[in-house]
Symmetry: C2
Subunit: 416 residues, 2 copies
């Protein structure tokens, strides 16, 4: 199918329905008019070589030949996210009794979460479609990422969040000068409101990164898969633990791995994908354990607010992938989340967001219970930054003592 | 002078007194026994080529041939800081009426401040000297950097801070599991206490990164100069604005530029160095304006706590460099700091710490008052992260509205 924006979208050739396969031109569409299934980007990659990627910039644009973006994307004003560290976590591995463990640490992105990856792709699509305002519903990290990306690109922004988010996320999302609107309700209610808005004249000229730009936006998560494989020396990990909010990230990491295999950039070897949720918002984990193929929505109640999506759009796909690859979906308690955040900080010097506590917590639980092979090469994702969820650890992270500046006072405080 | 650790310290050949030039073996020493002047690392670089650097890792270890570290430093467990973004700030430049402006954004470091650079060098020295505990006095960013680096390296840590620091910095510094000690007093009192401690048996086995490891530690700031020059395409900027706390960073950026010229890695062309302080802690700026060569200590009172050093050790060197290069030292009010933080966020999507507000504020002031050439290529440093100093902007960064999730409520809130 020929489309009108061949240059602007690089190797992308159209949009295809993930359910019925119907094909559409590249545009600001997100749902199949035939079956209402979600649309995703279809490509004609041609030949892609490791050397071309390796000579690219130290950000996600090194993979521009695998993304719906123009070839000159790196010259445009964007935040240049990605190429974050893959930390060899030997001290954490030792504590867990594992042989080979890595932390993919996306707190190194410009606004300190993986959301900068997806937003960067959406910004390019918004430009092409002539949207002058970027918008989204957000559990917090996306709000900051959209605000910052819009500011740098010279676009307006109007972002919607649940009004009860962490203070750090609210301040950060506001500081870039766009509009931030607090909604009295859960993320799922914010999301429904945005869908209404997009059908209204108020919002029809806006680019909602995770609604009408979602097919482009979601592709940004593939870069996590590409980077992990390249950073391992062009090799897929044997096991990977990924947080599940909407489930989009996990499905796109799987898509990214499969693309690398198909293009001959990595060897085709089996990998297992594990989804991680907080017990307080674990609709996918519950469905997995119950052997179901559908996901019953829940009302979230967890400190892992960035994962607090009670009605995850990609939940069924997550179940498919976990089962197909031989992985699992698991959840952890609030206490396990905090313990895992502290464990990761103490062993590797990585201060993760609560969502990172969820993945490391699930990793810990799966190793302990035998659900994950401690001998297999494993990657765990940290998708956010501890500075945004300070309250979670504040009571455990205080000065050992407060003293006057004298040796005598120091001796008294640390007599033992 | 031959030294015992030839392998561990790479191109370093000894320590030399910055005042009298006396030479010492490489060791945990920091003051000249002849004249009490500060010691700094002396080198024999041999030949260093651009290509060797360019083929190195995307962190400060690409410059290992210019630092007091072993050749295999990148294989050791450290946080691999550096190679942060040099953001082409066209929108900020347009607002200020400048032709070519870049922001060197060190919020991209692992603990989100430039301190990861200096600590990484100190950790290697501590290992070599057999120190098992890392320590420091800190205005906040260094505390987090030391805590994280020690955790990753498997060392103990004991960090001293003024007890009234920002909550985010206290939590972050504690989360890595080392000891954090709050001192009732200013940073200068904390610093004096640490000097006492180092002379006492309590602290004599500790590596204080900014006291007995200071000659090594301070060299880490040179990497800012190297990266800026390389990221500009192996060229020195014509003007650079650098925050002044102790003044060490500014003096080492100058040292780094001069080394690049001497090694033939960049063309020898003039550059001007500008120092930036907060009015509430501006001892160096005051001395500069008064035409003095000594710096009168002050008692700090500013929201830019990471720059709140009232008795800056390198103050006289900063004065020398500003005058020698044709730069200046300037200061800005609390209001100007906050305005500059918001300006940078709104134009470039960079959420800087208060210290970044100080440099961008001074840049703005100097351009406005004619002290800095708007036609010359200019770099301004952001050395920290807005998430650590949220209170500074919190009252200006709030939701535009909080509403129920309905189109009617949205219409009412945004009727105009």
């Amino acid at each position: 199918m020929v489309h009108p924006n061949a240059v602007e979208f690089g190797p992308a050739t159209g949009l295809s329905c993930r359910e019925c396969g119907a094909l559409y031109e590249l545009g600001p569409s997100f749902a199949c008019t035939e079956c209402f299934g979600p649309l995703e980007v279809a490509y004609d990659f041609g030949t892609v070589r490791r050397a071309d990627i390796e000579s690219g910039p130290a950000n996600i644009w090194r993979y521009r030949s695998l993304l719906p973006v123009p070839v000159d994307v790196e010259t445009k004003p964007n935040l240049q996210p990605g190429w974050t560290k893959l930390v060899k976590a030997d001290r954490l591995a030792a504590e867990l009794g594992m042989r080979s463990l890595y932390v993919k640490d996306d707190s190194g992105n410009p606004t300190h979460s993986f959301k900068d990856r997806v937003v960067a792709i959406a910004v390019e699509a918004a430009r092409t479609f002539g949207f002058h305002t970027l918008s989204c519903s957000s559990t917090g990290n996306l709000a900051g990422a959209v605000g910052a990306a819009a500011a740098r690109a010279g676009l307006d922004s109007c972002v919607f969040i649940p009004a009860d988010l962490e203070a750090a996320k609210i301040t950060m999302a506001s500081v870039y000068g766009g509009r931030l609107v607090g909604i009295e309700g859960t993320y799922d209610e914010v999301n429904r409101f945005c869908s209404e808005l997009i059908g209204d004249e108020l919002g029809e000229k806006w680019g909602f990164v995770n609604v009408n730009l979602r097919p482009y936006y979601a592709e940004g998560s593939k870069t996590l898969a590409y980077e992990i494989a390249e950073q391992l020396g062009w090799r897929l990990p044997e096991q990977i633990v990924i947080p599940v909010a909407s489930g989009s990230q996990l499905t796109k990491v799987d898509k990214g791995f499969r693309e690398l295999v198909k293009l001959g950039l990595v060897e085709d070897r089996p990998y297992k994908i594990f989804g991680a949720q907080a017990e307080g918002c674990s609709p996918v984990s519950r469905a997995y354990k119950a052997g179901q193929e559908v996901v019953q929505p829940v009302k979230p109640d967890t400190i892992a607010k960035s994962l607090a999506i009670g009605n995850p759009a990609d939940g069924p796909y997550v179940l498919d992938i976990a089962r197909r690859t031989g992985g699992a979906v698991e959840d952890v308690t609030e206490r396990e989340i905090v313990d895992a955040m502290r464990l990761l900080a103490r062993t590797e010097g990585v201060f993760a967001e609560t969502a990172g506590g969820v993945t490391v917590g699930v990793l810990t639980k799966l190793v302990r219970e035998g659900g994950l092979d401690p001998e297999a090469e494993t990657v765990v994702l940290n998708t956010g930054d501890g500075l945004k969820t300070l309250d979670a650890v504040a009571e455990h992270a205080r000065p050992s003592a407060v003293i006057r500046p004298s040796l005598a006072a120091f001796r008294t405080a640390f007599a033992n």
